[in-house]
Structures are given as C-alpha cells and as structure tokens.
Symmetry: C2
Subunit: 337 residues, 2 copies
DNA sequence: CTGTTAGCGCTTTCAC
DNA sequence: GTGAAAGCGCTAACAG
C-alpha cells in the first residue's frame, strides 16, 4: 500500500524516530541527516498517515467546520461558501484537512462537535454563526477544546473569534446616508438575541447621535428573524412615522422585505440599505445599496487564528497571538440609496 | 480523556474484541451479550476513535470532496453549496465524515486526492465537475480507489457516477419552446470538451429533428467557456441568421450574455433559456427561463452510491448496486420564454 | 544528536 | 460465541 515511515527510515539509513523528528522540525537534528531524510521522503513520495499520527497523540492537522443548515439562507447568501473557501485557502496552505457538516439545529451542532472531538479526527473547530448563550461555545469551553468563532462571542476576552466591525460598518452606512442628505433614518434589524444585531444597532444610534439626530425607539424595529417577512413588517411599522426618508437594515433579506412594502405603498423615495451583498441585491432593480462583509477574509482569518493557536500549543515558543481579528467591510453603493 | 473500547469492555464484562464485534454487527455474537455491550456503550456515551479504527485497517468512514475553485462560478451558482449539502444529508445519516478542499487547477486536484488517499484519511472520494480526459478520474482508476463522479464520465460502464439526464433535460426545453410557437431555435453551449455540452446539444438536435426541424451547423455555437462573454459572442453569431426566434443555452451565465447582446440589438422578442437556476436569473428582469438541476439530489445520490459501494466492499453480501443515478431536472418557466 | 522501546485505540487472526 | 495477543503507522519518553 502506501509508503510508511519505516521505508523512509530504511532508505535514509536512520531510525523511524529520526524521520519523525525531521517531519516535525525537531530542534536537535543535524542538518546533514535532515537533508538525507528529506531526500528519502520526496524520493518515495511519502505522506504521513494521518490516522497513525493522530492516534499517537499528535495534532491530526484537521479542522472541523460546523455550518447551520438554513437551506434558504444558504442558497441566497454566498456567505457560507465564501467563508468555507476562505478557510480552505489558509488551511490548505498549512497542510490542514477540513471537515464539515451541516446541522439542522443547535442540538445537532453539539452532536457533530462531540463526534468530531471524540473520534479524534480534528485538532480544532471553526463555528459559523453565533447566537447569544450559544451552547456550542459553552460545550467547547467546558471541554476546553480549541475553537474559533466566526461572529462575536459573549465573552470576547476569553474566546478566539473573528468578525466584522459591525458597529463601525453600520456607523459608516448611517453617515453615508446622512451625507447624501437623508435625515430621518429608521432601523430594521434581526432578532436582538444575535450579537450582530446589537452591534449594528449601536453603530446606528451612535452615528445618528454624533450627527445631531436622536431617534426615538419607534424608529427602531427588531424582527423575529432575518427574513423578508420581518423586513416587510418592519417597514409597515416605520411607515406610520412622519417624514421618514431612509431605512437602514442589518440584512439584505430584511431590506428586500422593506423594499417590497415601500413598493406597495409607492414610497420608493425612501432610501434603503442592506448587509451581506447577496446576489439578488446585485441583479434586482433597483440595485440594493449594501455592505459586503468579506466572508472569505473572515474564513481566512478564522483559519489563521485557529492554526496559530494549535501550533502554539505544540511548540514551546510562546508567541502571543491576538485572540481575534476584525475584518473590514465595504459599502457597496447602488440604486436604493 | 474520551471513553475507550476498553472501558466499555470492562463495564460490559467482556473483551475488547467482543465490543468491536458488536459495533460491526459481526454474525456470531449472542443476542444477550450484544445487548449488554450496547447498554454499556450508550451508558458511557462511547464514540469509537476513528483514527484508531482507521489505523487498524478499517473503513475510516470519511469521504473526500474535491471542488474546483472558480470563485466567480462559486459565488453565482448555488450548485456547489447545494451539492455539498446534499452529500452531507446522506453521509451524515450514515455516520460518515466529510472532507473538502478547493483546488485551483487539475494538478492541485490530483495533489489533494493523493493527500487524501496516502494520508489514510478517506474511504472514498466524490468529484465535482468532470471534463473529458479527466486526469483525476484516470488517477483514481489507476490506483483503483473508490470514487463517484458528479457528472457523466467518459467510460459510463466502469465508473460510478450521478448526473442529470442532460439529453432529456434539453430535449424538454426545446419541446417547450416549440410548443410555445418558436420555430427557429439556436443553440449556445459551453466548450465541447465537457460531456454536459455534448449531451445537451444532442438533446437539442434530437428534439428539433423529431419535430421536423433540421438546424444547420450555423445555428449551433459552442463557446470556449461558460461565461457571459461566450454567451454574448454566441448571440452575436446567431443574430446573423434570418428568422431566429429563440436561443437555448446550456448555462445561465451564457444566457445572461445572450440577453445582453439581444438587449443591445433591441431583439428582446427572441426567447432565451438557461440552465442551473442561478439566483441572478430569479431576480433579474426579465426573469430567466431555466432548468433546475437539483444539485442537492445529485449530492445525495452521489453519497449514496459511494457509501453503498464502500459498505459492499467490507460486507460479504454481494448486493449489486447500480453504478449510476440519473437525477430529474425541472424546467422553470419565467419571462424570457 | 540519534536509536530503542512502549503504547495510542482498535481490529483481527487464531485458539478454545 | 468469545478471549488473547499481535500489529496497523506513528510519536515520545528514555537512554546513550
């Protein structure tokens, strides 16, 4: 079958232990044997058996990725595939394998995580999408297994995570709207249990305040989910207000719902902004002004953070890595604002 | 750490060998011990260590997925994420793990496949996207490693594969157009090196012939790729023909290119159809008449085929499984036809 | 700096 | 039907 460490050792005229040491760049190895072993490895096309090295207590060099399974969302929002691609870019460059699974609900997410860990297959985990009181985070912490969250955690000090600067992103959107001459800007967000909703709402409020506007609570709507229906409801609510001239939403789907209601009421004069730069927003008319969250950057950074963390554990060089990255967003101006 | 087979054996009062036999439904095990062992397993929440079982020569219960990395395509076409989801649905239900990687080109695809196999990580491989003379297929055959192709192979007899019935799908499209009263229907396809192009073209020709139309070669255009640019070029070419009233394409991207050219020439009267039911086609105006290829069904079937194959290898029951599945497509009528 | 050896958790002959 | 024991390929003390 496949070529083993033994054959490499034989060809190089050393012991298997030495070969293993060369593979892992052990300190005390003479340059000459290093060279001999490397030659032997490439000559035989040796690839270490992941199962064996994992069994023997090594980093299996595999990352588990847990995805939510909202079929509609998955289909409409390129976020997930882009994040996965981003993860793969970094992980592959470091020789890591990637495991994924779609889960239907939180319980299944936890089941998968348990399987990942107990099976001994993965060295670390990347979680996509975070809610408050995330039981996955809780579980991973309780077994102190290395993981990185894409999204902002409850406890940002003691968790590894990457996210957009959602406060800043929405802050920019609102300033953009104000610069364009809009004044009475409403807010339509997703469920308040999501951290991202909170951050973007805070960005909204701060930006408004800084420019001298002080929106009452009636100008802020938070839906039960991120759906078009919620957006529609939000617009319905906000339209009861006088003089409204713009609506900033936290998600393209919400924005589409808002636009639908505005269309129905012939209030296309009201500006609308979304978030996530979904495909529909690109191609519908009018094009939706939105924010690109740079999903592949998020993925790449998440992988980087996790792999740094893992390699740090094994090596003794205590390089202090940051525990999070904030990824830039990009405002995409189109027709709706 | 995690609970091992030893602890289960201890609790059940049997040897580890017996536990192993129970796990794998070995024949000669008394029902009573089977029960005792099962109880012990669930009581301890035992999950077998995949690395160890794989090392000891068992099916690692892991499937490797090789994806092409055409960022634009990935972003615009929900095919890949849906196929991945489909694969996950079946694989997860059978307790299989899923490994994925994005590759930049054919060489990298082969590298990943080699890594997958040599590392001992995967029991089988699913390949997305197939071209003629696919070196991956060639390689996998040469080492006789189990794999399933999503797409039609060169040698359909001796390969495991799933695909749409592309002949039938395009046959339907053309009949639909003819039923709608269109007569002079042109064809714009992708590169002839792709099997899918060939099948759809054949479906087109057959349908035309059966209804008494015999398109000359000038009515058939095959681009260098599946891009909008190629579609644009194709339309340019076909528009030189007299009396053209419809263009059937093999891909939504091509169709968008065609539409662009038609728009420019004010020939919106010409009907256009696409393939793949991309998001843009849904939301643009006019909505694109297209064909949904049921990507998640394709993924699910591919996983089913591969897992059947793998389990068959280990068990002695020679269940004869089919070597391919044909997945239904669905015509989605919209404004452009 | 390098070799020897034990053992990771599981499967699998080979006995009984 | 079930247990004992060897070994999958690799790593990590422990020697030297």
């Amino acid at each position: 079958m496949a070529v083993t460490i033994k054959e490499v050792a034989l060809l190089a005229g050393v012991s298997t232990a030495t070969v293993s040491r060369v593979i892992h760049n052990h300190d005390r190895i003479s340059d000459s044997t290093k060279q001999v072993v490397r030659d032997a490895m490439s000559q035989l096309g040796y690839i270490p058996n992941a199962a064996a090295s994992s069994l023997a207590g090594k980093n299996p060099k595999t990352i588990g990725i847990v995805l939510p399974n909202n079929p509609g969302e998955l289909f409409k929002n390129p976020f997930f595939i882009n994040a996965m691609r981003g993860i793969s870019v970094y992980a592959q460059s470091k020789g890591y394998f990637l495991l994924y699974s779609f889960s239907r609900d939180e319980q299944e997410e936890i089941d998968f995580i348990q399987n990942y860990i107990r099976s001994g297959w993965v060295s670390g985990i990347i979680l996509l999408a975070s809610r408050e009181h995330d039981r996955c985070v809780e579980y991973l912490n309780s077994v102190s297994f290395p993981f990185v969250l894409i999204g902002r955690p409850e406890d940002p000090q003691h968790t590894y995570w990457v996210d957009n600067d959602n406060f800043q992103a929405m802050y920019q959107v609102v300033n953009y709207l104000i610069d364009k001459g809009y004044r009475k800007i409403g807010f339509v967000g997703g469920p308040p249990t999501f951290r991202v909703t909170y951050d973007r709402m805070t960005g909204y409020r701060q930006a408004m305040n800084n420019r001298g506007f002080f929106p009452e609570d009636s100008m802020v709507f938070q839906g039960d989910d991120f759906s078009e229906e919620s957006g529609y409801l939000g617009a319905e609510r906000l339209l009861t207000l006088n003089g409204l001239d713009a609506i900033a939403t936290t998600d393209d789907q919400l924005a589409f719902g808002v636009l639908e209601k505005l269309h129905k009421e012939h209030r296309e004069d009201i500006a609308v902004t979304g978030f996530n730069n979904t495909v529909r927003g690109t191609y519908q008319h009018p094009g939706l002004t939105t924010v690109d969250v740079n999903a592949d950057q998020l993925g790449e950074r998440a992988a980087q953070l996790l792999i740094n963390l893992l390699e740090q554990q094994t090596s003794n060089h205590q390089i202090i890595t940051p525990n999070h990255y904030l990824v830039e967003t990009q405002l995409i101006p189109r027709d709706t604002a």
